[in-house]
């Protein structure tokens, strides 16, 4: 099985992943995550880099019970789509929850957490997860 998560690959995305950096299209007004130089919707190349809001609500979620091989040790875990306060949508893990007690529409906030370890010799990958606001 080919490893898709090399060290430089994790390193070059670190700023966007750790600080939740998105883009806002100056033409169609839509914002998106992660940041990219061209708007995926309208093709405009006038994109403003934005720090996305760290709060939002959980739109939909699922519980991953049959994970990809590099996530096997963490299953079951929750993955969902969060709509941030400015309307941007982000796919992320939902953490600090009991799977069958979670409800769609709940208010959530971003937290910095571990995603996976690259075995004994690789690095530990971090990123943003969301947890229900207390």
């Amino acid at each position: 099985m080919v490893k898709a998560n090399s060290i430089p690959r994790v390193w070059r995305e670190r700023t966007i992943k750790y600080r939740l950096i998105g883009g806002k299209c100056k033409k169609c007004g839509k914002s998106f995550y992660p940041f990219r130089r061209i708007c995926p919707r309208c093709g405009s190349e006038e994109i403003e880099e934005v720090h996305l809001p760290r709060e939002g609500k959980l739109l939909y979620y699922t519980v991953i019970r049959a994970p990809p091989s590099d996530f096997e040790e963490y299953a079951p875990y929750v993955v969902g789509i969060v709509e941030l306060k400015d309307g941007t949508r982000v796919l992320a893990q939902i953490t600090d929850v009991v799977e069958d007690q979670l409800e769609e529409g709940v208010d959530v906030e971003a937290v910095f957490r571990k995603y996976r370890e690259q075995g004994k010799e690789g690095i530990i990958e971090y990123g943003i997860k969301f947890r229900p606001k207390t």
Binding site: R9, I64, P67, S69
Partner: protein, 388 residues
């Protein structure tokens, strides 16, 4: 653009082919299609091979030259075409264009996937490569998980129930019983489906297409070459389209419709000069039950939010308004991902040739096959017409 015809089709059974390699699957399917076409092997000028994960799951790339070599036709133009689970449909589209353009007179479109050698977790990791590796696969989402989000969004928006959507799996298994090539030729009840283990909530095991090995092939040719084939039934490619959508679900406004299907279908109906009501046989890409329901809507056979009613009311059965997946669909015929698009074409053409046995639609004239890559990042639509 000139007219393109299907000269022959061939396919292996779909199952865990422990004793057969990827290249041998390709060769077997090609031999069958060439034999069916009555066209001499040496007349084939190009091969387009749909495959998603040969590199990751088999450690094998360069399928074009591999195929030409093992088939004993080195020198032909040949390469792999990849568009995740829509690789087969995309390969067919390329093959169609190759003949329609006048560049080649006789080509072969193939699809192959060899999945059973790999461990389940590795197959799951390979399939999620259909989406963004850095921002979707990174979260640990599985491909089933992404479709589970679509399922939730659909149930929320339209108030549909899982017991109605899950009927799609029951339907597919019922028809696969009569398909010799199908991976699972047995029936399941709705209760079996709803009691099977959860894979990614709310999706249960028996709502998911299985993994398996298989290869399928279609020989395409110009009108002139078709004379040599002297086929009893003349089948024309009435339309071949391919469309994309924004790759990841979280970047789309509406999760309950696949814009790529809507786009590809609009172009295809126009190209074939037909409307949905002219379609006699339908093959949809039901990798998960919810997708089958959504495709019925996006292809114009039901209003948005009402696709499940067609299933529940028996309208996708033999004798119904739009007979769908009559050879078992992805769920029961099987889903060797990169090969699926060609298997769908194989099944559609089998119906037009009148060779579908107990599952035959009377006097089928127009068949449509829809093949989906990722969660609708790519959609291929091909329409076939029996020429009188």
């Amino acid at each position: 653009m000139r007219k393109v015809y299907v000269a022959g089709i061939g396919a292996t059974k779909i199952r865990e082919h422990w004793e057969v390699s990827l290249r041998e699957l390709l060769v077997k399917a090609a031999q069958k299609a060439i034999e069916d076409s009555n066209i001499e092997k040496k007349k084939i000028q190009a091969a387009f091979i749909g495959n998603m994960s040969s590199g990751v799951l088999q450690g094998q790339e360069h399928l074009g030259s591999l195929f030409a070599t093992w088939m004993g036709i080195p020198g032909i133009a040949a390469s792999k075409v990849e568009a995740a689970c829509a690789s087969g449909g995309a390969a067919f589209h390329s093959a169609y264009l190759a003949v329609a353009s006048g560049m080649y007179d006789c080509v072969i479109a193939l699809g192959v996937e060899k999945m059973s050698d790999a461990l389940t977790g590795d197959v799951t990791a390979a399939l999620i490569m259909a989406d963004d590796q850095d921002y979707v696969a990174f979260t640990g989402a599985s491909f089933v998980g992404l479709n589970a989000l679509v399922y939730r969004a659909y149930m929320k928006k339209y108030g549909a129930k899982q017991e109605d959507i899950a009927l799609f799996a029951v339907h597919d298994h019922k028809y696969a019983v009569n398909n010799e090539l199908a991976q699972f030729r047995r029936e399941f009840s709705l209760e079996d489906v709803l009691k099977s283990p959860l894979i990614a909530d709310p999706i249960r095991l028996l709502e998911c297409a299985p993994t398996g090995d298989g290869a399928a092939a279609v020989v395409l040719c110009s009108e002139e070459y078709l004379k040599e084939a002297n086929n009893e039934v003349k089948i024309e490619v009435a339309a071949s389209t391919l469309a994309t959508d924004i790759l990841s679900l979280h970047d789309r406004d509406d999760l309950t419709t696949l814009q790529a299907t809507v786009r590809a279908a609009e172009k295809a109906y126009k190209m074939a000069k037909i409307s949905p009501s002219d379609v006699d046989v339908l093959e949809v890409h039901d990798a998960f039950t919810i997708l089958g329901v959504i495709h019925l809507e996006d292809l114009g056979f039901a209003k948005k939010g009402e696709g499940w009613k067609l299933v529940k009311e028996g309208e996708i059965e033999l004798g119904g308004k739009i007979p769908t997946n009559l050879m078992g669909g992805l769920k029961a015929r099987g889903h060797p991902v990169g090969a699926t698009g060609i298997y769908q074409i194989y099944d559609a053409v089998t119906q037009l040739k009148g060779e579908a046995g107990k599952n035959q639609v009377d006097d089928a004239e127009v068949a449509l096959a829809q093949n989906v890559g990722g969660v609708g990042g790519t959609v291929s639509i091909n329409i076939f017409r029996r020429v009188r």
